[in-house]
Symmetry: C2
Subunit: 153 residues, 2 copies
DNA sequence: GAATATGGTCAACTAGATTGACCAATAGCC
DNA sequence: GGCTATTGGTCAATCTAGTTGACCATATTC
């Protein structure tokens, strides 16, 4: 059975998140990039294609108003560029601006570093297992989708 | 090498956390316990011995003022009981009040359920691996200790 | 026993979210 | 076609969970 005095699973997740986010942003800052944690999630999710404001709201798990504000700030700070959606005149696509591109590449670099450091402790195989297991569990418990990022606190 | 288009590790952690916290609190609420996520972490950490206000601050990763406020609210809502520390007249020990005891037991029950559900997807062995791998990585990257719980956002 | 550090609280403030009202454009439907 | 409902986005006001800063009482150090 599960030992009830173990560290709770949610706490492990929380600490893992905290640890990764802190390390990422420490190293981003050393490269002169002072982005807030939430920026990095948005940039990383914009790799394949530009997101809409609503995509951001869903991704992060907050209201579209809050997502709209965030997009505005990130545009003002030159991470994003709001441009009209070619197919839908209501929507806007959040393209990566030059600084956003740079921050994204830096974040990707740093993730490679961080994952290497994790692999040094538990090994490459176990790290990949961790990744794929989490993916599997999350999709299984959320009808094939991924849940929002922001923790309910 | 690491596929750069994969879901970022921090995002997996964030979603895992979110998923567990949401599920826990949904089920706590169904049992008539309307606690905030942060309460559960404090209660679970109080299992072995009562914490001080400063312990709570360290555990969660915020200021002692904020921890003090939290303790006050949790006392007012009958989850905790602030009592003088027998060895140190400055400090207070946060004992579990009756409702806190109940909430703690409920949370433990629900964690058993949730972990069983995760195990259904990835298996018991992999779940234990996940737990021990996270533990190992966190301790290794934090000088043997565990980092705070609250994500920097 | 003086100086410093630690545990805790009070008060004022702030950042980052929320709710609610609203407009413009699209989609569904008869 | 044209009416209605839905969707994408923003503005404004508000709320809340945290912060910073000042402070007191007790412990610790030398």
């Amino acid at each position: 059975m599960t030992d009830p005095t173990q560290v709770p699973l949610a706490r492990l997740m929380a600490m893992g998140l905290r640890s990764l986010v802190d390390a990422l942003h420490e190293r981003l800052e050393r490269r002169g990039l002072e982005v807030k944690p939430v920026y990095a999630f948005v940039l990383l999710a914009s790799r394949e294609r530009p997101l809409t404001v609503n995509d951001v709201a869903e991704l992060l798990g907050f209201t579209k108003q809050a997502a709209s504000k965030l997009a505005e700030v990130m545009e003002r700070e030159d991470y994003l560029l709001r441009r009209p959606h070619p197919q839908d005149a209501r929507a806007k696509l959040l393209h990566l601006a030059p600084r956003g591109q740079r921050a994204l590449r830096a974040a990707e670099d740093i993730y490679v570093e961080l994952e290497a450091e994790w692999a040094e402790v538990i090994g490459k195989r176990r790290l990949e297992a961790l990744r794929s297991d989490l993916n599997a569990v999350l999709r299984a418990t959320h009808g094939g989708n991924l849940p929002p990022i922001r923790p309910t606190w």
